[in-house]
């Protein structure tokens, strides 16, 4: 399951599907909406998605992760968009592996690259009535300004 969706994330089903008899380690990452950001009190979030491209980029991130760590047996990623409240999951990732080392680095790779390359944008709505789009300056991967073939991987 690799998906970009407006629906709340069904984490229980993802957890269930992450189990694999060949795996000794299942790691999950839940990105949850925090109640504060840079000392602003956050009331609510909204994510905008360039939906078809976000789906494709998410699939690319997972494919590259599996290429780098071929021992990973299962990887699932669901990223939600639209409005969500504090403590709700905006992204949920599971990684299942025979051994824990691969699961740790693979999971880290996925969340780090989602934050670089998957076209989703967060707008925070603060308790004081203000709101702001987040465009982190370190959030883009300049590699993507060049063709994949040009890059020495």
């Amino acid at each position: 399951m690799i998906s970009v969706t407006r629906e709340p994330i069904d984490t229980a089903t993802l957890d269930k599907n992450a189990v694999d008899p060949a795996c000794g380690a299942v790691l999950t990452f839940s990105g949850t909406v925090r109640n504060s950001h840079h000392h602003h009190l956050v009331k609510m979030l909204s994510y905008e998605a360039y939906e078809p491209m976000a789906q494709r980029e998410l699939e690319k991130v997972v494919a590259e992760c599996k290429r780098r760590w071929p021992d990973l047996r299962k990887v699932q990623v669901v990223h939600r968009f639209g409005k969500m409240d504090v403590t709700e999951s905006s992204v949920y990732i599971t990684v299942s592996s025979p051994h824990r080392g691969d699961a740790f680095v693979g999971l880290r790779y996925i969340i780090d690259n989602i934050k670089k390359d998957v076209p989703l944008w967060k707008k925070e709505f603060y308790e004081n009535g203000e709101s702001e789009w987040l465009h982190p300056e370190d959030g883009c991967s300049p590699d993507h300004l060049t063709l994949r073939e040009d890059v020495n991987v």
């Binding site: 491209m53 990223h79 076209p119 982190p136 063709l147």
Partner: protein, 85 residues
């Protein structure tokens, strides 16, 4: 006289909010590269400031080389720095 070339580019997040529309249309006489199209947009909206150097262009739902020549039939989008996760 050559026919005008029309590029229609999807906008997201603060770009969309700043422009007030979901798409930006560029009309010109000659085909542009990805980089030239980005420059044309940010030249028109100088208040977008630092987003100029951080925004990428996507062609047919994939990031592309900045020297790629862009086709009016391509699906185009400006991708400001993302903040998923």
């Amino acid at each position: 006289m050559s026919e005008a070339i029309l590029y229609t580019v999807k906008l997201f997040a603060s770009l969309k909010e700043h422009v007030g529309r979901e798409e930006w249309v560029y009309e010109g006489d000659v085909a542009l590269t990805a980089k030239e199209l980005l420059h044309a947009f940010f030249d028109q909206y100088p208040d977008l400031g630092k987003l100029r150097i951080a925004t990428r262009i996507a062609v047919n739902q994939a990031f592309c080389h900045e020297d790629l020549s862009v086709n009016p039939d391509d699906e185009l989008a400006f991708i400001p720095p993302v903040s998923g996760g």
